[in-house]
Symmetry: C2
Subunit: 222 residues, 2 copies
């Protein structure tokens, strides 16, 4: 929707609410993450694995965004706390939806808030949700050229989860080439290779989360 | 971008150009198809297979939309006629881009024009491109719940290509369940199962195209 002049106004209002959310997360020492990917790259599966493998003393919850259905929240509630945000047609989450989702969620301050965006590798990258970091999940089935074809998402991401690596023997995708292309768009981008079917890489991802949580805590203390 | 009031105006202008394109395609007896899917579901691979297996007397060409890169047109030019439309950030093709793409393409009237949309299972469904039919491609790696989670795309589609069926033994996806979910959203939706790696289902897809082309020709004669 590049050519709609009112977009600037919408984005300004979004940025105001996102700034409030960011201040709240910082004050409470919450690591807030915005998880984005194409439909079916494995956001919900990654969160199922993450909630199952999280250290027991860590308070975590998920806000999960979808255009329709409560399926993802239902899946995630089997392993942890999850609240559905149904966007009613919108192709991305915005900060207002996250604010309302937090109200619906209730509960006390969190160590980690995972915000699972609508499955869309384009539009969600344009909306600040007050998160500390953006996580892009890319499945090896999507092909090794995707960072070049959807550059904004990969420029803005803080980490790329290269998921479904168990399928590498069966698909025409070179994992090193995906990472090389991601680094052409975003030099130094953190990369973690995972399989949510086999559990490979989940420990590394949890360690990444713990590192970011330590950063958030040290900023909170200042 | 549901909440931007100017969207109505943009859509009205889009519909005006789409109606002109539709009239032109009808007059020339061209079957115009709008191919939509998530990133990496196999739109370009399907078109590579299609152009390679098309009857020799059929004049076909592709307009291929991407946010960035000319990669897809370069791939497709090895097997047929292809023109890249680079959207410069926009998450979907609109009728104006197709009109300009046709100007850049040149050449005479076509039997089939394939319009490969930007990889996005949400926004492209909202923009009429003057096509005769909408084609949604869904890969089995995306999971069997996708028709329920992205209903607009499946309501508006005229056929669903269920692609990458060669991967079914390796992914937690039930093809019958995908089709059942698609039919819950859109009863009677045509479905073709394909693998662009093995070539399975391509003959059925070509036969579907020939059936639609006969419809277009019979309307042209009226």
């Amino acid at each position: 929707m590049k050519r709609v002049p009112l977009k600037q106004k919408v984005l300004k209002e979004n940025d105001r609410i996102a700034a409030e959310l960011r201040a709240r997360f910082r004050e409470q020492g919450t690591l807030a993450l915005n998880l984005m990917s194409s439909p079916g790259s494995g956001k919900t599966s990654l969160l199922e694995q993450t909630l199952s493998h999280m250290p027991k003393d860590m308070r975590a919850a998920v806000l999960t965004g979808d255009i329709a259905t409560e399926n993802d929240a239902e899946r995630l509630r089997r392993v942890g706390s999850a609240t559905q945000i149904t966007t009613g047609g919108s192709c991305h989450l915005d900060a207002k939806m996250v604010e309302r989702g937090l109200e619906n969620q209730g509960g006390g301050p969190l160590d980690i808030l995972f915000i699972e965006n609508v499955g869309n590798l384009v539009c969600p990258a344009g909306f600040d949700l007050g998160e500390y970091a953006k996580v892009v999940i890319l499945s090896v089935t999507e092909g090794d050229d995707k960072p070049l074809k959807y550059p904004t998402m990969f420029v803005r991401a803080d980490v790329m989860i290269l998921n479904k690596i168990d399928l590498l023997p069966h698909v025409p995708c070179d994992a090193d080439k995906v990472i090389e292309n991601a680094h052409r768009i975003h030099p130094g981008l953190d990369v973690i290779r995972t399989s949510c079917l086999t559990g490979q890489g989940i420990d590394e991802w949890i360690a990444w989360l713990q590192g970011r949580l330590r950063e958030v805590r040290s900023r909170q203390a200042r």
